[in-house]
């Protein structure tokens, strides 16, 4: 019996139920009262805020008891079949409650921001219905007590992502971006499913508590099954968390409303892969090769995405590639066995990246309104149409600088500590194999680029001369309070977030200890000596400062011209702007061949050709011909009959005796 039974943790189901009810109400309002914006806002924001309230109570209960074992709250039997017994159950432990706070807390702030951002959209009720549904599924994802229940949330958030990316579905490109996100995620999910099947075959269970207990007994460390399970699960993570080779959907996902990008495609859903690796830490600890692969993919993705971020003009695209890159860091963390560090970066990233996206949303909102005023059609997301906005958007500009310094890794902001811990962990494992120094090096290089592209974004957006257009300039105004308030709250979290886990005095690390213990018993958590750690910290600050300084000295915002008058890029700049043409590559080697195979070979040649034309209809022709032949044979000549009879009888006898 868990220490949490009978406590506030029993109410954990409400964190799913409340947003789900919000979805139902707003979903109904989308049909019967789409203009009742007040009610929609109250239900939409209120249900998530209430869920956050419950989450705080659950957190306090866990804080009070600090139980060693997870508390599993079981509701009903979901899929009983043969040896499989999956309950509809939620798991409360130190890891899930941290995630729960982030999801509902940051989620509530972003819901609030949306009231301002989406207020004039005709699909307001539908928007909040989807957003509420997203929170419900995300909570299922982080609280699910078994792989299949987690998977409900996992694919459910993918569904909401699909619906919200394609929210403005009458736009061909936006609808296509939603579909692409869903399909790429499904490729990962197919791997996730096979991983579950393999796990069940070897352990006979899919519930987390039982898996953690049985895996060390039944799986050989470093063995084939353990490695295969971990790699297959990671394929799912690579899809959801946009890692190489499945990252291509995330930049396109920016087609959705900007608060959606902040909530789903930065703060919560895309971090689910990192969460899963931490949740299944025991399995990854049993598979060192798979863990190394996780770290390697993370490190390469971190650097690769950062290079693309250097040349994007769309403010959201910069942030999207930045997210891909930062998720890479988190995978370096959990891949190195530093699960707490990975989760720490997940949390701080959710603060500052949500802030950056909402800040970008505030900018876009302002520009959009300005263009709307003058009836000019121009891209409100292109940084070449911005510049000098610090004076018109003082709050947005200031909070975004806070977030920029945080993501660049300037102490004492949140991002500094979390990123530093990850790199230190990778470096600490360098003693085992030089491979880990390589991982660290990639991470350090990506840190330099991060500082550079983020400073670039800030300079081009907020500083230098304004390029929006003379008639529009007077109409650019700071966003309303309902939008700036969440920005300020997130800025405060960004400043203070580092305190969650200060090196050596930290609490998050200790807090997660009951969850990460099982994995740590198999693979000791890497930690470099104190001297090395301090040296690495100093180096990290130096790298960040260099990146900012380089951007400050090399970039000339005053030389930029608005997007419609810009010269096209050439050479490597063009290659970066076109994102290394990976989408085109996938299209040519995967999408088109599969469609061609389906249409030309499987359908036209085999189904319609070989089976139908030759087989089915062919046999009809044969039957008709036989009928004709038969009618000829019935000639009335007894001699012919006898001959045929004898030949036939001989043939039958031959067949029977042969």
């Amino acid at each position: 019996m868990s220490a949490l039974a009978g406590s506030a943790a029993d109410a954990v189901g409400l964190t799913v139920l409340l947003p789900f009810l919000g979805f139902l109400v707003n979903g109904a309002l989308a049909f019967v009262g789409p203009r009742r914006t007040r009610l929609i806002s109250i239900v939409g924001v209120g249900s998530v805020a209430a869920a956050f309230g419950v989450a705080v109570l659950v957190f306090l209960a866990v804080l009070g008891a600090h139980p060693d074992e997870p508390y599993v709250r079981s509701f009903w039997t979901w899929m009983p079949a043969g040896d499989l017994a999956v309950r509809a159950a939620l798991q409360v432990d130190q890891l899930s409650v941290v995630m729960l706070l982030v999801v509902t807390g940051v989620g509530a702030l972003i819901h609030l921001f949306s009231v301002g951002y989406m207020g004039e959209d005709p699909g307001y009720a539908r928007y909040f219905a989807y957003l509420n549904l997203f929170i419900a599924f995300m909570v299922v994802l982080v609280l699910g007590a078994s792989f299949p229940v987690l998977f409900i949330g996992w694919e459910g958030v993918g569904l909401c992502s699909y619906l919200l990316i394609g929210f403005w579905f009458t736009d061909r490109e936006k609808a296509a971006a939603g579909l692409k996100a869903f399909l790429v995620n499904r490729i990962g999910d197919a791997g996730f499913l096979v991983g579950m099947f393999l796990l069940f075959k070897h352990l006979g269970t899919l519930e987390f508590v039982a898996v953690a207990e049985r895996a060390p007994r039944l799986l050989t460390p470093g063995g084939g099954p353990a490695t295969a399970i971990a790699l297959l699960l990671f394929l799912g993570c690579a899809g959801k968390s946009a890692q190489i080779p499945l990252y291509t959907w995330l930049p396109d996902a920016m087609a959705g409303p900007t608060p959606v990008s902040a909530l789903i495609h930065a703060a919560t859903m895309v971090t689910a892969g990192v969460f899963l690796v931490a949740r299944a830490g025991v399995l990854f600890a049993l598979a060192p090769a798979a863990s190394a692969a996780v770290a390697a993919v993370g490190a390469v993705t971190a650097l690769f995405a950062a290079t693309i971020g250097l040349k994007q003009w769309d403010i959201k695209k910069v942030l999207a590639y930045s997210t891909v890159s930062q998720l890479g860091y988190m995978f370096v963390g959990v891949g190195s066995g530093a699960y707490a560090a990975g989760i720490f970066h997940l949390v701080t990233h959710s603060f500052f990246k949500a802030l950056l996206f909402l800040g970008a949303g505030s900018v876009i909102h302002a520009l959009h309104r300005a263009y709307h005023h003058t009836h000019r059609r121009a891209d409100a997301q292109d940084m070449r149409n911005m510049g000098g906005l610090a004076t018109c958007l003082p709050v947005t500009s200031r909070v975004m600088w806070v977030a920029t310094l945080a993501i660049a890794g300037i102490p004492p902001l949140a991002g500094f500590f979390s990123k530093d811990e990850i790199l230190a962990a990778a470096f600490g494992r360098g003693a085992e194999s030089p491979f880990w120094y390589g991982v660290w090096l990639l991470g350090a290089a990506a840190a330099l680029l991060t500082a550079f592209y983020m400073t670039r974004l800030m300079l081009y957006t907020f500083h230098g001369p304004n390029r929006t257009g003379t008639p529009e300039r007077p109409h650019i105004r700071e966003s309303p309070r309902v939008m700036t308030l969440p920005l300020v709250a997130l800025a405060a979290l960004t400043v203070a977030g580092g305190l969650l886990n200060l090196p050596h005095v930290g609490t998050l690390h200790h807090w997660l200890e009951p969850v990460t213990r099982a994995a740590a018993e198999l693979v000791a958590e890497p930690r470099p000596p104190l001297g090395t750690e301090l040296a690495l910290m100093a180096l990290a600050v130096l790298i960040a400062a260099t990146g900012i300084w380089l951007a400050r000295t090399k970039l000339r915002p005053e030389l930029l011209v608005p997007a419609d008058r810009s010269k096209p890029e050439t050479g490597w700049q063009k290659l970066l702007l076109e994102k290394y043409r990976v989408d085109e590559f996938y299209d040519a080697v995967l999408v088109r061949p599969v469609v061609w195979l389906s249409r030309v070979v499987l359908w036209k040649a085999l189904d319609a050709g070989a089976i139908d034309a030759a087989g089915v209809n062919g046999s009809a022709v044969v039957a008709r011909s036989l009928g004709w032949l038969g009618s000829r044979l019935q000639s009335g000549q007894v001699g012919t009959y006898v001959l045929i009879f004898v030949v036939g009888a001989l043939a039958v006898l031959g067949a029977l005796t042969g």
Binding site: L84, G166, L179, L183
Partner: protein, 516 residues
Amino acid sequence: METFLGDIHYARWVLSALLVLPLAGAALLAAVPAAAAKRVALLVTVAEFIVSAGLWWAYDPAGPAMQLTAAAPWVREWGIGYRVGIDGISLTLVLLTTFLMPLAVLGSWAGITTRERAYYGLLLVLTTGMLGVFVALDLFLFYVFWEVMLIPMYFVIGVWGGSGRLYASIKFFVYTMLGSLLMLVAILYLYYDAGRAAGGAYSFSYDFVLRHAAVPLRAQFWLFGAFFLAFAIKVPMVPFHTWLPDAHVEAPTAGSVILAAILLKMGAYGFIRFALPFFPSVAFHPTVSAVVIALAVVGIVDGALVAMVQPDFKKLIAYSSVSHLGFVVLGVWALTVESAQGAVMVMINHGISTGALFFLVGMLYERRHSRLIADFGGIARVVPAYAAALTLVSLSSIGLPGTNGFVGEFLVLLGTFRTHPAAAAIATTAVVFAAAYLLWALQRIIYQPLDKRENEALPDLVPREYAVLVPLMAVIVWLGLAPAPILRRTEPSVRHFIETVQSRSAPPAVAEAEPR
């Protein structure tokens, strides 16, 4: 509920009543004016569903033995009897049938305007035929019902179908007939063989034949082949599947719904009830089993890929059936409790979800007289409720967790992976292709710009259509979140099926098929 059912001796008459009621309804139709035909049909099918609903409580979930049995001699000298009864598997299929028939009548409400009495009469006869197949415990009776359901369907497609109905209905008829005639030969062989072995006491009784038949292995091979062909055509398995897209495209809405939701299940049901228990040594012979599993996997992937490139939405759904039914065959042949339970779930889910999809296509067709995906686009703006329903049903069809579709596919694949990991892994790729074909179609139908003038004034769902869709959507969510009540009722029967197969098969095949 149980006491009430006991008081009225429900168990004694229910199955017979379910078989007679639709026939009586069909007779009644001849006496009413044509305009009232659909109302009478609705009344009869609703009554049928209400009568059948008691089965849920009357059936004892614990027992694998046949329940609610009834028997009467029919042709005594040949050992033909009226023998009926249900186990957990037939229970779910009977309920699926009676649940869908009123919806099928409602779905025909506006679309069928000619010879209504004949049409609804055929639907009712069809109901008896389908239910008979699921409850028959006599091989001859089974064969009779099998044929009874074929003829009304032939006419429904051939008379009320689309422009290519003649080709489609004849193709359907010849294909199915070819299979069933071979099956008849096999049934007769079994009958004589079992009778001889029992010392001259001939009977078509299922239990009797199962107990006494002692067919030599070589002959078993041929008999299995005959049964297999009949059922494989019905399922349909690749490469016997090409009648299905034609039949579906030409059939009227209710015809498509019934064809997909129930008729296809008869093939799978036949495997579970007859072909496998009678000839396990052949069915699970390593080579045969490998071929069948390969065909199932090919069907799963091929059906999905071909569905993806269909320009006609109805044909797309027809091909998706090939893919879904592949899961059923895979789950049955993998012979684990999980996979076979999953197979039963897929049978039900496919009935619900694909049935709903055909209703939705029909609603679109009635408004716009087109099924071509390219004729639509952006209609979520004018028919939001329709778009929402189509989205939910599509999600269930692609197996989104939380909907019914997931439960079946997941169990099939999970169980199959224990005995045939490679097949399960390949079949899992279908989750990608399924999402591709349905969501891509959705994107082109309900999303994108509303750029065709004919679509600008499409009316949204009317109450009658809600009455069809809401029950289906409720079941989609119910079976997605809490399928345990169904699984609990089918599990003893599924275990019994697996034990029967394993105990009757020759040693090498057992080793091959043993889970774990």
